[in-house]
């Protein structure tokens, strides 16, 4: 019994409106993606993509979404994602778009990528701020000591407070 291969699409939901975050939940994201596939690839595409399609992980605060799809058809889904223009939840509709960050073969690789990506984001953020805590924080992030989140956050609070 050969294992059925899957692909995992790691996407970021980018929205102008912060209220959009409210409607980021699994059902809404899934429905939006499927809707886009149906529009772009028709019934056949929808059916292909629906096989084992799920939202594996989702974080409303960072807007990160992890979608699973069969390896044979992930291109259909991938090509349809740019056509998602809004998310709808509880009769509220907020415009947004999907930014595909990574396509991975396992959840694990996606998670590793996400760690790297988030680190980069934080570093970018740090470049913009100037304070005495910056150097300290910078060094910690570079060392990968992010596991000590309490301490990092403590430093960050300093940073943000002073900036």
């Amino acid at each position: 019994r050969a294992a059925l291969r899957c692909r995992y699409l790691l996407c970021e939901i980018v929205s102008e409106d912060p209220r959009c975050r409210q409607c980021i939940d699994e059902r809404a994201v899934g429905a939006a993606a499927k809707d886009a596939v149906a529009r772009t690839h028709g019934d056949y595409g929808l059916a292909c993509c629906s096989i084992s399609f799920t939202v594996k992980y989702l974080n409303a605060y960072t807007g990160i979404v992890l979608l699973r799809c069969r390896k044979d058809f992930y291109r259909l889904l991938w090509s349809a994602l740019p056509f998602v223009t809004y998310l709808e939840n509880r009769n509220q509709r907020y415009s947004c778009f999907f930014n595909t960050l990574h396509v991975g073969g396992t959840i694990r690789t996606c998670q590793k990528f996400l760690v790297q990506y988030n680190r980069k984001q934080l570093l970018l953020l740090l470049h913009n701020c100037t304070s005495e805590g910056k150097q300290l924080l910078h060094s910690y992030i570079l060392k990968g000591a992010l596991l000590h989140m309490d301490f990092v956050l403590c430093c960050m609070m300093h940073v943000f407070h002073f900036s």
Binding site: Q22, Y57, N59, T62, L147
Partner: protein
């Protein structure tokens, strides 16, 4: 099942991040929530309330985004920050959902990212599977001994592996190794350790030898070798049939009775019956010429309350003519039977007073004295060092004999009235068994009779002083020479089976270690010495075990023939092993192996024969012929051999020389196979009516049941569906009871209808009567007597024994039965002599009437399969129907009928019970009347049902299957000796007679065998061997 799966999944997912959604309350809430961490928590709480039970939900919440611990700490930190007056950010945070000021976005953004990083890192770095790290590696990256050496792992995994290894070390029980190996292996410490270990279970003297080569089991208070670790099933069989198989039977217990002959015989006669064979009073046994064997019963309780089978040896009389001298009797029993027999003997002889003089206490003190002298003599370097270390270093002595004995307890009892002394000689006398046609060759090569010695070797030691005393008496010297001559003659015989069963030969031999060959070789007979050359190439297969050809004029051959005809004379059975003081002397004055080797090393010509001269120990031994297969027609004398009895302490000294002469060693399993091929009942497996047998059956059932339960229900035989009521235990009691009921029912129905047919039968008998003549009348008379006896017994016992059953051991009745079981006129066979036929018909009515009055009797039978199949333990013996015979007649290759599949009526019940249990567990909160009732029902269920087994009250065992059940198999296997499947077992006598009466004459004694885990019946021929 699903619960377990859920748990497993939850464990696997415990490190995986769950999705994080914005709480719905968060948005509209204007000011209440501080930051999103808190928000998510407040959101979680209602969820928790909604599904309090679902564990998965709970798990998800626990691992949501951030684990509760850190988030709590974060909060704490934040509150601290507030306390320090840095709450400015908080105000901004309130507006997050509405206006999103720029500078605040940064903070939430960072926080969210950081939290996510945290969660992801946790998911990536921490393993969540149940397997160890090196087990999760792909196959091509695995290396040998990874679990042992973490440096074989990829570097990234080493840290985790190290932690795991530490954990495993903690789990492992730390055994105390306070001494280094060298110290532990030092001889003194080794002996201490060995002595400690044999306190609980007795070790045989060959224990260390066995432990290195055998699977050891703890049984009956001993450590015994079960089977060799090498692959040797067939090799042991070959040794049994062609050469020699050696067994250490020292665990058999010897009980010694000392007393006046009449007293002993009078009392012992109550414990056995002449019906079962020769008793203690049999003339050849009583004279001490032959060893006897019989079954003991509780006093005056025959034929019930079996104690067990024994063998016994009378010490031959010293001075002939004196009748009322004290005699010595050894009763050898299996250790599982010993306690019962000993207590019974003590009560029967009224021996209750422990005897101080005979108790082993003096031996103990003597040993201690010797220890002291020992120390004085060998204060070597090591001892000295120990003494320096601690003054109380106690010198240790190897335990010889029974290590579990309590020194203060007495093992010798006497009675005031009769003067009979009973002593328990367990482990005082060693016993080895040699099985096989060449066992006498091994004996004659390994042992050398002691040389005559008239001078003491050393004045101060008491080594051999008894022998010197003995050699001064010319009569005794001549006796020794006669024994020696007979021992020499043993080389001339073809196999031990040629000598009378149970022949005893006493002997005094020299130290067998002296003439140990340099290389191990196979002892072969020297046919030229005693036989003509034409016999040189005679093969030793069992088919040709026949008496010597007697056409040579060799005088030695003459002598051999005389020996075979007359047997060993009575006086040659005399041995000094009967004298305990001599035995003690011999045991204590054994030259240690070390000294012997030292002397060997000092020989002028290395490797030449060591001559100890007068220092050589003389050991009294006893050789007893063990009869092989006596019952039945094929392979007569198969598996015969010699038993050798030694004084204790000399075990290894005799063991190694035997092995150097090519004897192969077998364990308990080989012993079992030996008795199976010999078709003799094995102790204690095949004595279901004695307490040890019942105990054994119970233990076996537990073992088998445990083994059965260990397998998953889908992977084990469903015995309910197979129609096997009792796969692990033979329900003898119920079998006999069911047959009794069945018989009664049949009688009632038949009585009226078949009255005329019965009269017809009797009419038929009438013409037969005059033919056989006097002998028949005699036998008939015997039978009638027997019948009367048994009937009397029935009346006496009455209701007291209503639940009991016993095994028929009455020889006459068994012979009758045996004759009736054989097919009378087969195709090739001619009709047997008329007298025999008549006899049978005569006894039919008598037998039937006997067994009508006493139906709860089992008969020991042997079965050999006609065609395919190998019977197993607890296989069922069933009665074939008429159709089966018809089919067998039509098709000679017909294997046997099939049992239709039964339906499992308990499966439903078990499922229901399971559901109920689940409900009970789940719905503890719901207290309703219905659930109460259910619970009450569940309580009513007495025992847990096991899928695939019948619960305890069995239905009628005889008629449960399509063929009527007759009995069970207690031993069964493919017999290498017979070349087909063979089984031994018990059948119910009533059932057997019922079957025989209805079977056609040429198919008499055909039964069906079915193994517990199969639906296929197979034809087998039933034999009763007497």
């Amino acid at each position: 099942m699903s619960n377990a799966r859920e748990k497993k999944r939850a464990k696997k997912m415990r490190n995986q991040p769950a999705s994080v959604t914005l709480s719905s309350d968060c948005g509209p809430c204007p000011s209440g929530i501080q930051h999103h961490n808190g928000g998510s928590r407040s959101f979680q709480t209602p969820k928790q309330d909604l599904h309090p039970d679902s564990s998965q939900e709970f798990q998800q919440q626990r691992h949501q985004h951030q684990s509760p611990g850190p988030s709590y700490r974060k909060e704490q930190y934040f509150s601290k920050g507030q306390g320090r007056g840095r709450g400015g950010w908080r105000g901004g945070r309130q507006n997050v959902s509405q206006e999103m000021p720029k500078y605040i976005t940064a903070s939430t953004f960072a926080q969210a990212r950081a939290a996510e990083i945290n969660a992801m890192l946790k998911a990536v770095t921490q393993k969540s599977s149940n397997s160890l790290v090196f087990q999760t590696l792909p196959r091509h990256m695995r290396r040998r001994a990874m679990s042992h050496n973490i440096k074989r792992l990829p570097r990234r995994l080493r840290e985790i592996a190290r932690k795991e290894a530490e954990k495993a070390v903690h789990q492992k029980k730390e055994h105390s190794k306070n001494k280094c190996r060298k110290a532990r292996r030092r001889h003194v410490n080794l002996v201490v350790e060995f002595n400690r270990r044999q306190k609980k279970n007795i070790w045989l003297e060959t224990h260390i030898w066995h432990a290195k080569r055998f699977h050891m089991v703890k049984k009956w208070g001993y450590c015994l070798g079960d089977r060799p670790t090498t692959k040797s099933y067939r090799a042991c069989y070959r040794a049994m049939t062609k050469h020699c198989l050696l067994q250490d039977l020292s665990y058999y217990c010897c009980l010694e009775l000392n007393g006046k002959e009449e007293e002993l015989l009078k009392v012992l006669a109550r414990m056995c019956s002449i019906d079962t064979g020769p008793t203690f009073a049999a003339v050849p046994c009583l004279s001490g010429r032959l060893q006897g064997s019989l079954v003991l019963y509780r006093a005056d309780r025959y034929p019930e309350d079996l104690l067990g089978p024994i063998t016994f040896i009378w010490k031959p009389k010293d001075g002939s003519g004196i009748t009322s001298e004290t005699r010595q009797l050894w009763i050898w029993t299996h250790p599982s039977l010993k306690q019962d027999i000993l207590t019974e003997l003590k009560t029967v002889f009224q021996c209750s007073e422990p005897v101080e003089t005979c108790s082993p206490e003096p031996i103990v003190t003597l040993l201690q004295e010797e220890k002291q002298t020992d120390v004085a003599m060998i204060v070597g370097k090591k001892r000295k060092r120990e003494d320096n270390e601690g003054e109380k270093a106690v010198p240790v002595k190897k335990i010889i004999g029974d290590g579990t004995r309590v020194p203060l307890e007495s093992y010798c009892w006497t009675s005031q009235t009769t003067g009979v002394v009973i002593s328990d000689l367990t482990m005082e006398i060693l016993r080895y068994r040699l099985i096989g046609p060449l066992s006498h060759c091994v004996l004659t090569e390994a042992l050398k009779t002691a040389s005559i010695q008239t001078e003491m070797a050393d004045a101060e030691t008491e080594l051999n002083n008894w022998w010197v005393e003995n050699c001064k008496n010319s009569e005794k010297v001549s006796l020794h020479q006669r024994q020696e001559a007979i021992f020499e003659l043993l080389q001339g015989i073809n196999s031990p089976s040629e000598i009378a069963a149970g022949t005893i030969l006493g002997l005094t031999v020299g130290d067998p270690r002296v003439n140990l060959p340099k290389k191990s070789s196979k002892a072969m007979p020297n046919p030229e010495k005693y036989q003509g050359k034409e016999d040189l190439h005679r093969s030793w297969s069992c088919a040709q075990w026949k008496p010597l050809s007697n056409h040579t004029d060799d005088p030695d051959n003459e002598k051999v023939r005389q020996l075979l005809l007359e047997g060993v004379p009575v006086e040659c059975a005399h041995s000094f092993i009967w004298d305990q003081t001599i035995c003690k002397n011999v045991t204590e004055n054994k030259i240690p192996e070390q000294d012997l080797n030292h002397m060997r090393g000092e020989l002028l010509v290395p490797g030449s024969q060591l001559d100890l001269g007068p220092c050589e120990s003389k050991i009294p031994i006893l050789l007893v012929q063990q009869p092989g297969k006596v019952a039945g027609e094929d392979r007569p004398g198969w598996g015969s051999g010699w038993d050798i009895y030694l004084p204790k302490g000399w075990g290894m000294a005799f063991w190694i020389p035997f092995i150097y002469r090519g004897a192969r060693v077998g364990g308990l399993q080989e012993g079992l196979k030996h008795s199976e091929y010999k078709r003799t009942p094995h102790i204690p497996n095949d004595f279901p009516d004695c307490p040890a047998g019942i105990q054994f059956a119970k233990e076996l059932e537990n073992v088998l049941l445990e083994k059965f339960k260990r397998r998953p229900p889908a992977k084990r035989a469903n015995y309910v569906k197979l129609g096997t009521l009792a796969p692990f235990l033979c329900p003898w009691g119920q079998l006999t009871r069911d047959w009794e009921v069945r018989n009664k029912a049949q009688e009632e129905s038949v009585v009226t209808s078949s009255a005329d047919s019965k009269s017809g039968a009797t009419e038929r008998q009438v013409p037969c009567e005059p033919k056989p003549g006097l002998t028949i009348e005699d036998s008939q008379g015997d039978i009638m007597e027997e019948m009367a006896k048994i009937q009397n017994l029935c009346k006496e016992d009455g209701a007291a024994t209503s639940s009991g059953f016993f095994v028929l051991r009455n020889r006459k009745l068994l012979k009758q039965l045996s004759a009736r079981c054989r097919p009378t006129c087969g195709k090739g066979q001619r009709v047997r002599p008329a007298s025999k036929l008549g006899q049978k018909e005569m006894t039919e009515d008598a037998l039937l009437s006997i067994f009508k009055c006493y139906p709860r009797v089992l008969v020991w039978v042997s079965l050999s399969l006609l065609r395919k199949g190998s019977p197993e333990l607890h296989a069922m013996i069933c009665i074939p129907t008429q159709e089966d015979f018809l089919q067998l007649n039509k098709d000679q290759l017909f294997c046997g009928p099939q049992e239709p599949k039964h339906s499992d009526i308990f499966k439903h019940k078990i499922l229901k019970l399971k559901e109920r249990k689940k409900k009970k567990n789940n719905g503890n909160a719901l207290e309703s009347g219905a659930s109460d009732a259910l619970e009450a029902k569940a309580v009513e269920e007495p025992k847990e049902l096991i899928l695939g087994l019948w619960p305890d009250p069995l239905p009628d065992v005889t008629s449960h299957c399509s063929r009527i059940l007759l009995g069970f198999v207690t031993q069964g296997d493919f017999s290498l000796a017979a070349g087909c499947g063979e089984a031994l077992g018990f059948v119910n006598l009533t059932g057997l007679l019922h079957m025989l009466s209805s079977q056609p004459t040429d198919k008499k004694g055909l039964v069906l065998l079915r193994t517990p885990a199969s639906l296929q019946y197979r034809f087998a021929r039933l034999n009763i061997e007497v």
